[in-house]
């Protein structure tokens, strides 16, 4: 599906969708959004790019196999759950928060890192599945 319109549009849509996915990720916790939805949107950005420019170009853009994001994300989520156990001897997954909110991002706590982990895992899983299917098709 190499049309000029889609290809030109995808050049702008890729960064836009990625920024939007980060916005959705940060919006999570109290409002609709979060790691899962954000991850899906980020994956859609790459899938759209692959539609317009071919799978090989998207892979070149990513530089590494998306499957690698799975253990990284899982590891991050795991560590965010483990932090209270190691630091304060609180039960696993207890939320730790910085006292003051950060500008732009808002309150930062271990839940954010858990969500970033989910975000990475979702991107990794979705892209691995879609890339594998389109390679074998």
């Amino acid at each position: 599906m190499k049309t000029l319109i889609l290809r030109t549009a995808s050049d702008y849509l890729l960064p836009l969708l990625l920024v939007f996915s980060v916005f959705i990720l940060l919006r999570g916790h109290y409002l609709p959004g979060g790691g899962f939805v954000g991850g899906l949107i980020a994956a859609i950005a790459f899938v759209l790019h692959a539609f317009a420019n071919g799978l090989d170009n998207t892979k070149g853009l990513l530089r590494f196999h998306p499957g690698f994001l799975m253990p990284v994300g899982l590891g991050l989520a795991f560590l965010s759950g483990l932090a209270p156990v190691i630091g304060l001897d609180d039960p696993f997954m207890t939320g730790l928060w910085f006292p003051e909110p950060f500008p732009v991002i808002g309150n930062v706590g271990s839940a954010l890192f858990f969500d970033i982990g989910v975000y990475l895992v979702v991107i990794g899983v979705t892209l691995t599945i879609i890339f594998t299917i389109s390679e074998s098709a």
Binding site: G67, M70, P71, L74, G75, F78, L82, V85, D89, D90, P91, F92, M93, T94, G95
Partner: protein, 506 residues
């Protein structure tokens, strides 16, 4: 740090799975990490078990959310024992896998998925929240789908479809049951449910929910009318996979049944009667199924079904002695069934076949190995003083006391048929004259593989045989343990107090 000691086996498995994913393509590194990690897991599980044995039931409220609202993790003696058994079987199968599973399968993430499976099992044993239990069950079945299909042979996929369909159905029924229960009581915490279900006016609905749970867990643990997926699928994947499936997957269903029917749905004569009837039929049908099979692994599959009956019958009689018998049987069965499937894998490696008719002359050619295999085979039958004998005493005593002579007959009948089946297997495979089996050109026979691999195949069998021997000869210890678990299970108030009264940790 000791407050959360019960979570460590869980966290360790998760850490292992994540580390193994980083080494996706390096299967030799995966082998070493998996074996070493399983060893550490065993050490941690023993520590947790000792801690629980000395200090009694422990709870952790995950995320510091208080008991009826958050997810509770709880380790009583039963959970700690199951975690310990998981780590024993996990260590054995981890070593066995690195010796026996071929590289082409390992390259598709065999070890990470294997540890996710163990993570799911450990989680299911430790959780105190019924919805969380469902989540762990999902982790278990998703991992097991991958393990059962890895390699993608035709027979494997055919078995996997049957396995997938019925287990998925079981999950849906389980989820429906949770939904109904939540609608009735507005709670998911098992201890809280125990209090609230007892107070529900609409007993008919409670009973229906209990039946839904029974069907959901019944499919997973392969009890009488719901077991058809098991013999259709367990002989298709590599024997390392069958070993962990046969040893632990059906037992997690039994664990859930015992937990739910001793904690939430108690004092219900109707349910106990149903459990008893199902158990008796399970014993009969499993035993008769095993009698007519020729493939060794199919024989063992039917024996799994048959012996699930012993545990369910113990639960159905619902006296302290009977439950102690069921727990003892559970301990014995996990070790022996894991070992039996590894043995079938060893026989397959040596001869290239698992057909009883084609095999023969094992005792003449491999006398030492035959003696080794004698231990789990006849532990299963329960020749005294081997491990299968002791739990049956408790079960038979209990059925005498409660006067249910049908159960007594079923227990004795199933033991007898097990004896016949194993004797037939022994005569065919070990004593019969060796047969000519056509040599398979591309098959990697046992005598052709490297020494280290051979050690990796033999050592776990020796290890589990030693554990079986300990269960048999140290029966007094296991009996004490089972009696303590049974007394804890019969008095569910202890469990409820442990969960609901720990809001103020000192």
């Amino acid at each position: 740090m000791t407050q959360q000691i019960i979570l460590y086996p869980l966290l360790l498995q998760m850490l292992l799975a994540i580390i193994l994913m980083f080494f996706w393509r390096k299967i030799n590194a995966q082998r070493i990490i998996s074996m070493f990690g399983s060893l550490v897991h065993l050490a941690v599980s023993i520590t947790v078990f000792a801690y629980i044995w000395n200090n009694g039931t422990q709870t952790v409220q995950a995320g510091s959310w208080e008991a009826p609202f958050g997810i509770t993790f709880i380790a009583d003696t039963f959970s700690a024992t199951m975690v310990l058994l998981t780590s024993i079987a996990g260590l054995a199968v981890s070593i066995f896998s690195s010796g026996s599973v071929i590289g082409d399968r390992l390259r598709f993430g065999y070890f990470p998925i294997f540890h996710f499976l163990l993570l799911g099992l450990t989680g299911a044993f430790l959780t105190g929240d019924i919805f969380n239990l469902y989540v762990w069950f999902e982790i278990i079945i998703i991992s097991s789908f991958v393990l059962i299909t890895i390699g993608g042979e035709k027979a494997q996929l055919e078995g996997a479809v049957k396995y997938f369909t019925l287990n998925f159905l079981a999950s849906m029924i389980f989820l429906t049951a949770i939904a109904v229960l939540y609608g009735l009581t507005g709670s998911l915490n098992m201890a809280d449910l125990a209090n609230k279900v007892a107070a529900v006016e609409n007993r008919a609905l409670v009973e229906i929910t209990a039946i839904l749970f029974l069907i959901g867990f019944g499919i997973k643990s392969a009890i009488f009318p719901l077991y058809f997926w098991l013999p259709a699928s367990y002989h298709t994947p590599p024997s390392a996979v069958s070993a962990i499936f046969g040893g632990l997957l059906t037992k997690v269903g039994v664990y859930a049944l015992i937990r739910v029917f001793t904690l939430i749905f108690v004092d219900d004569v109707f349910l106990d009667q149903i459990l008893l009837v199902l158990a008796i039929f399970t014993l009969f049908s499993g035993a008769l199924g095993a009698l007519v099979q020729n493939n060794i692994r199919k024989v063992f599959s039917y024996l799994i079904i048959c012996h699930i009956g012993y545990m369910i019958i113990g639960l159905g009689m619902f006296t302290e002695v009977a439950i102690a018998g069921a727990i003892f049987y559970l301990v014995h069965d996990i070790v022996v069934k894991t070992n039996l499937f590894m043995i079938s894998g060893l026989i397959y490696r040596i001869k290239g076949s698992n057909s009883m008719r084609a095999l023969g002359g094992f005792y003449a050619n491999y006398p030492k190995l035959s003696l080794l295999m004698f231990i789990p085979l006849f532990s299963l039958v329960g020749i005294p003083p081997l491990s299968g004998f002791w739990p049956k005493i408790s079960l038979i005593t209990a059925s005498f006391e409660s006067g249910s002579y049908w159960s007594l007959a079923a227990i004795i009948f199933a033991s007898f048929i097990t004896l016949v089946v194993i004797a037939k297997l022994w005569a065919e495979v070990f004593w019969k004259e060796a047969q000519e089996i056509p040599v398979r050109p591309k098959f990697r026979y046992f005598h052709a593989i490297k020494n280290i691999k051979r050690v990796q195949i033999i050592v776990p069998i020796v290890f589990l045989s030693l554990v079986s021997l300990y269960v048999g000869f140290g029966a007094e210890h296991i009996q004490t343990l089972s009696a303590r678990i049974a007394s804890e299970l019969m008095d569910n108030q202890q469990y409820i107090d442990a969960v609901l009264n720990t809001q103020t940790p000192e």
